[in-house]
Symmetry: C2
Subunit: 236 residues, 2 copies
Amino acid sequence: MVNYTTLYQHGTLALLVPGLLDGTITMGDLLKHGDTGIGTGEGLDGELIILDGKPYQVDSTGKVIIVDDDFTLPFANAHFARYSPLAELENVDQDDLNQQMQALSRAENTFFSLKITGTFANVKTRAVAKSKRPYATLAETAKNQSIFTRDQVDGTLLSYYSPQLFNGAAVGGFHHHFLSADHQYGGHVLDFRLVKGEVTYQLFDTLEQHLPVNNEAYMTHDFSKDDIAGSIQKSE
Amino acid sequence: MVNYTTLYQHGTLALLVPGLLDGTITMGDLLKHGDTGIGTGEGLDGELIILDGKPYQVDSTGKVIIVDDDFTLPFANAHFARYSPLAELENVDQDDLNQQMQALSRAENTFFSLKITGTFANVKTRAVAKSKRPYATLAETAKNQSIFTRDQVDGTLLSYYSPQLFNGAAVGGFHHHFLSADHQYGGHVLDFRLVKGEVTYQLFDTLEQHLPVNNEAYMTHDFSKDDIAGSIQKSE
């Protein structure tokens, strides 16, 4: 029986901060937990977006490919899509949207996802270049990121909202990834302006938080000295 | 198929802080997620401990009863028991045990449970008296708590350990509940000294965090002004 009210998460945002970037789940295994999702590859290898069961990777050159089942990730979210219509929006930017959606959804204290399909006046994204062991911190690795902008583009914005209580485990607030309708452009969203789009949403009552307990680097790391909240704010 | 690597949690520690104390899961439903667990009843109605599928409640008079399936809880943990031997311990108090177990388990970055069966020189517990709507804050309600001490007692200490990252959602560190072998004494553990006991443990790779999304008081509460970490430290 497919579960539509659970958001699956592998790894935590926090483990990226000190650079625990080993791929600890395969895409094949992640897809058992959903047909929709986001993530990053081992060593922060690009930005992933899963739509209709297809896992697209935007790499640091901006190229979009579909990755294999054996592609590995340190951090990812996935769920089985069953979105409901929420609103039709015109001419909103990222801040407007975040605010309006938080109010409209009335779901600030739980996890939910938004899927927005429409025409964008512009979408600014980033994708990080894959780093190799020994991994540097998130802040260091994120310096090797490429920033892209595309004007007048049709596509899908996939967002997850997490309550502030879970900031650190997840990104408190909204976390948006984008894929253009022609599958040629996307990434982790830094900014956008929507010309016109349909907003759908899906509410979760459960976060299934899976941790990489077989990864020694993760299990032996001392997190007490990492500034998790500060690093997330800077990088996201 | 029984899942032995998932810790189920209903509600969050954080929601108790402002007094969101409605019972939002029945014991019957909780027991579908485990035969072992801890929790508190609606309005902070005593301290619950589930062992071998039986849910014991210690109320504020110290009385222990088995609750019905329709008993409701605002916050609880449950899992299906499959413990492995970890250590035999003699003459340790709560601080010693917490320290030794954190080191021995090498699992500081994931969730795990300890079950310690043995003879205790003393066990100090507390149980809160049930409060009614409109609920006061955790700090206010917890003033109506009874503290009990029992010397030379055989019994079971059931503990959950949560990584600090999840402090607020859960209690970061250890959270111990106790039930005596004769089922006449127990509660939320404040302090103890173990004379001799067998420590078993069970590691989880997944936290299944369930939230009370159908409870309006929870969904509309503004958590931004609550001092979650401070209140947990004071009350736990």
